[in-house]
């Protein structure tokens, strides 16, 4: 689940757009591959066990307060969720130089500086309504740096489908009030519901206890989530036969267990990292070619077995 609006540094995908030049960390050398000793955090050994990584404490990017009626708990917002997807820099094949994206005018192909841009809403193909920054600022929700909670609900009654991005709330010289609030909602199993304004968007938000801290999770608006009933195929599903259902349920029972997120790890990322290590060590990367003739016999056996298994 990806947040609609995270802070720039938490979203690696932000790098592919030119909007946040600060997010483009320089890559040493011109090969696109980190040279020499990798920077801290660049190559990490994946955690083998079932426990989630504790991660490292980051910097606050938002500070304000939780407000419930007249009560204020000053807090700082910290990034909790990192997308660790692998990204490559795009290079010029000829000389290995990194490429950069530019805003180019579609009429004369000239690069347009930021200062000469305005925002437009496309009303019809090729027809735009132009908005000045002042006009947009007039309707932007005012960020008064408050997480306003208006209601408490059972945390387990929340629909995870609407969860957006989670942020850790850290007390801002408010340890006592923070601890009191945390203890109160942890005891009752409840979460506070309200709103938070980040940058120019107001989000519904829930504040709940998690792993010894308070976490604010933004929520999607109802019209941002498609309901299954929008699909005719799903509205017209036939009920299965009892015997089929019993068999399917047996399979489910046999595979039942406890949820452990540690069972999953990003294999593509691992493979790429080991490829990088090999390349850094000067190893040549070779691909195992399939052996068509050798494997032919196995394919015959496979065809037979697959058809037997399908009959079962």
């Amino acid at each position: 689940m990806s947040g609609t609006e995270g802070p720039a540094r938490s979203r690696e995908k932000g790098r592919s757009r030119a909007a946040h030049p600060a997010a483009q960390e320089p890559v040493p050398g011109n090969t696109g591959v980190p040279a020499g000793k990798p920077a801290a955090g660049m190559i990490t050994v994946p955690h083998p066990g079932g426990h989630a990584e504790t991660g490292t404490a980051g910097r606050a990017f938002w500070s304000g307060a939780i407000t419930i009626g007249l009560v204020n708990v000053p807090v700082q917002l910290h990034t909790m969720v990192r997308d660790r997807s692998f990204t490559f820099r795009l290079l010029h094949k000829e000389d290995g130089q990194p490429l950069r994206y530019d805003r180019v005018c579609t009429r004369d192909d000239k690069v347009v500086p930021w200062s000469e841009t305005v925002r437009g809403y496309e009303v019809r193909k090729g027809e735009f309504l132009v908005f000045s920054p002042e006009e947009l600022r007039a309707v932007a929700p005012e960020s008064d740096r408050k997480i306003r909670l208006t209601k408490f609900v059972h945390y387990l009654s929340l629909d995870p489908m609407f969860f957006g991005t989670s942020y850790l709330l850290v007390p801002d010289r408010s340890e006592d009030a923070y601890s009191l609030f945390l203890s109160a909602i942890r005891k009752s199993g409840k979460a506070g519901v309200g709103t938070i304004t980040m940058r120019t968007k107001e989000h519904p938000v829930v504040v709940h206890a998690y792993g010894g801290g308070l976490v604010a999770t933004t929520l999607h608006y109802p019209d941002e989530v498609t309901q299954p009933a929008a699909y005719p195929q799903l509205r017209e599903l036939k009920a299965p036969k009892d015997a089929e259902l019993a068999l399917a349920q047996r399979i489910v029972d046999e595979l039942s267990g406890d949820f452990a997120i540690g069972e999953f790890h990003d294999r593509y990322r691992e493979a790429i990292l080991s490829l990088i290590e090999k390349k850094l060590a000067g190893e040549k990367i070779v691909y195992a070619e399939p052996h068509p003739e050798e494997a032919k016999e196995l394919m015959e056996a496979l065809k037979e077995t697959i058809s037997t298994l399908q009959k079962k």
């Binding site: 039942s256 267990g257 294999r267 691909y287 399939p290 050798e294 394919m299 056996a301 065809k303 697959i306």
Partner: protein, 292 residues
Amino acid sequence: MKRETDPAGTEELTKVRFSNLDRVMYPAAGITKKEVISYYIRTAPRLLPFLFGRPITMHRFPDGIGGEGFYEKDAPKGTPDFVAIFLHHSVTADRDVRFVLCNNLDTLIWLANLASLEIHATLSRAASYESPDLLLFDIDPEPPLGFDAVIDVAKVVREHLQADGLSPYVKTSGKKGLHIVVPLVPGYRFADVRSYAHAKGTAIARDIPYVVAEFPQSRDKGTIFIDYLQNAGGKTMAAPYSLRATPEATVSTPLAWSDLTRGVRAEDFTMKTVLGTHEEPWKGILNDRQKI
């Protein structure tokens, strides 16, 4: 990720990329890894229903049985996505073990390609790891006694179980002995099953002088040991139809009780003999769950 080109069209049939197919696994019998993989593919319909949901231990021989073998409980690095993993906290090792569950054909082929000649499976399934669904008697001879004596004792064990209203199943261990297995209804604890098996062994040891029921005597010359200790959490037995690392490429072969007559030899049940028959003496074993 886009895969490399695939002239053999293997990708439609399996996601496993074969390697070192010509490596000799069984030097005396001249069996290559390709033949091992082919064996597991051909026995898959008989083997997979049993393995489903059961944590396994691999016994791998990358250089064949002439080289060194090693046991592996953990899914190795680079385990592909189609392999189901069961994460279990091992108290004895004080760490999480990522067990492989051989739930599909691709996993079985992948195991064979890893040169896991032997596949050992637990007596319980991942979903109820602490509760066995199989009772096992592991009957092993100590020379000069041999397979004939093992057969005699196995039949006595069977009579004792039948007296309790049970219908046990039998297979060769693939080494010198026999495994007697009773599929159980859900809910037993290993301790219950172990003490039941121990009591049977003790009773038989009282009647037959060369039978021993206790571990300390299990290596005494000229005895047959009825091992009840395998009925414990995390212990494994060679899966039915698992190859064994013996010169003859023996297989832990499910048998009908009528197959067991004196004169039959343990090493008669091999990769070749199993491939030569389509009989399935253990067919439906997991739908024949019994109460002890």
